[in-house]
């Protein structure tokens, strides 16, 4: 059984837009958001890259999430919920209160047992873990230190010890919800709980390919008839008090280096690229449905998902295999799955991180496999790298590019590394079929193929 699977709801939170309309407008205007890393991080390390793309301040109360509820959810779960609310609203799926105390809803036009949740994340609730870990490690030591400082009088060492004390940052208390906030499946589970959805509910962790993989598995479950509908996507939250996650990528020199030109440092597919722009996070969630189910309720259809492919390099935990053989095979599997040929692809939303090797390998595969005039862009050139959310956000861009027959430029692409058809201006383009591909640490390669609904 192979049902057709369509996208009927869209939701997104990103550095350049907190809903689909705002995000898409920002994309077409090639907006970006880059700032220096927090000044206090410099107390804890020497950073090669000193820029990041922050999220705007979020107001989760506008999604009906209460003050206490917010404290019991990691930001990655809050992003998952906010994007899910948006996706359901955009799908015209009404939700009504199920349990006032738990602040949960039910969706009357969906069969709860036949609706699933498939959510990708690279690191889950690591920021909550980091915050609780700091509390555990530092609280008592800091109290002892404070007592000792108090006994020092005007000793010259007092000032430096006070400085050390003040730089020992930790949460106000150990959050008793630490486990349920940290676990990588929290985002997926919280969406299921919030909307009382009882079909398959899983988190997918494949580093930077997580979002793409999650959507792929949701797509397969709906296509097979196992489910009528699903909320699918990817979320990530990467900020912590000390910049520890940032350091993890900086230490392996994966991040953009042109600190003196924050606005120009992020340049995927450019000859002068130096690494990726670290993003604070974000997410995108879709409502996907079996076509007949969507038609019966008169849903608006944004695009159709027609194929998915995945492979693993089986080569290195952080380095992409440079021949791109498994990326090529991933594409062949996806073309077979969608029953199309490479020549039918009009548009590629590339992984396009801006690291030397990724772009080199990806560009070589694109040159080898696709039509010479296939349109290519990298959404990371605008928002940086949101890791596990990136595949979902880029699938959103692919769907919108198909829907609106236009797409965004590759920002800062002044000297393309290859003579490919990178998008350099926002124009009308005949985009009927497009794909979004993602490659993650561990060698995970995944691609989704989308087509205009007809």
């Amino acid at each position: 059984m192979r049902n057709r699977v369509v996208i009927t709801g869209l939701g997104v939170l990103s550095a350049i837009g907190q809903n689909t309309d705002e995000f898409w407008k920002s994309c077409l205007e090639a907006k970006t958001r880059v700032e220096r890393i927090p000044e206090h991080w410099l107390h804890y390390g020497d950073f090669h890259s000193q820029i990041l793309s922050p999220l705007p301040p979020m107001d989760y109360s506008s999604y009906g999430i209460g003050r206490i509820e917010e404290k019991q959810l990691d930001p990655s779960s809050l992003i998952a919920l906010a994007c899910s609310f948006q996706a359901l609203d955009s799908a015209g799926l009404e939700y009504t209160t199920l349990d006032r105390k738990r602040n949960t809803y039910s969706i009357s036009s969906l069969d709860k047992d036949r609706t699933g949740v498939f959510m990708g994340t690279g690191i889950g609730g690591l920021s909550t873990f980091a915050s609780c870990f700091s509390y555990q490690v530092l609280l008592r030591q800091k109290e002892k230190l404070a007592k000792a400082i108090g006994q020092l009088g005007d000793h010259p060492i007092r000032e430096i010890l006070q400085q050390v004390h003040d730089r020992m940052l930790h949460a106000r208390r150990f959050n008793p919800f630490a486990v349920s906030m940290t676990m990588p499946n929290a985002g997926s589970a919280n969406v299921g709980i919030k909307f009382n959805l009882c079909g398959s509910n899983n988190a997918y962790s494949a580093a930077c390919a997580s979002g793409t993989v999650a959507i792929g598995y949701g797509f397969k479950a709906v296509r097979s008839g196992e489910l009528d509908a699903a909320l699918v996507g990817g979320v990530e939250y990467l900020r912590d008090d000390y910049g520890a996650v940032f350091t993890g990528f900086d230490a392996v020199r994966a991040l953009a280096l042109d600190n003196d030109h924050p606005d120009r440092a992020n340049r995927p597919f450019d000859k002068d690229r130096t690494g990726f722009l670290f993003s604070e996070g974000g997410g995108a969630v879709f409502v996907i449905e079996d076509l007949e189910h969507a038609q019966k309720r008169g849903a608006r259809i944004f695009a159709e998902i027609i194929g998915y492919g995945e492979t693993c390099d089986g080569f290195n935990i952080m380095m992409m295999e440079s021949s791109g053989a498994q990326i090529t095979r991933m594409l062949e599997l996806a073309f077979a799955d969608a029953a199309i040929s490479a020549g039918e692809i009009d548009y590629i939303n590339a992984h396009g991180t801006g690291t030397r090797l990724n772009d080199e390998t990806e560009a070589a595969v694109i040159e080898q496999v696709f039509r010479k005039d296939v349109l290519i862009n990298s959404t990371k050139s605008l928002i940086g790298h949101t890791l596990g959310a990136s595949g979902a956000i880029e699938t959103l861009v692919t769907a919108l590019s198909i829907l609106h027959k236009t797409t965004h430029v590759c920002r800062n692409l002044d000297n393309p590394m290859k003579d490919l058809n990178f998008v350099t201006k926002v124009d009308s383009y005949p985009i009927c079929t497009g794909l979004s591909q993602s490659f993650g640490f561990g060698g995970h390669n995944a691609v989704l193929i989308l087509r205009e609904y007809r």
Binding site: R67, I68, K101, R173
Partner: protein, 88 residues
């Protein structure tokens, strides 16, 4: 800072309890029992402790949770903590 009166503590406790259990403040009296009247689950009690700590700027040891069965218990407990605050 001046110590809170029993009425002031009750007012703050009632506000916290209403928010945690999503009920109107008017439904909460000193006699209200968390388990019997508000159908509290273990996670609700943990949440209550966290919110009391924040509202009164105190640290409540986890083992004291079992002493707090009703609004009256919570008010008495917090009043007793208030009394322990050394006076400047």
């Amino acid at each position: 800072m001046a110590q809170l009166t029993q009425d002031e503590v009750f007012a703050k406790v009632r506000k916290v309890v209403a928010e945690v259990f999503k009920v109107e403040e008017g439904q909460i009296s000193l006699q209200t029992k968390f388990m019997d009247d508000l159908k509290a689950e273990s996670l609700d009690i943990i949440t209550l402790l966290m919110e009391f700590e924040e509202a009164f700027d105190k640290t409540i040891p986890d083992e004291d949770a079992e002493k707090l069965l009703s609004v009256q218990d919570a008010v008495n407990y917090i009043m007793s903590m208030e009394e322990k605050v050394p006076q400047a």
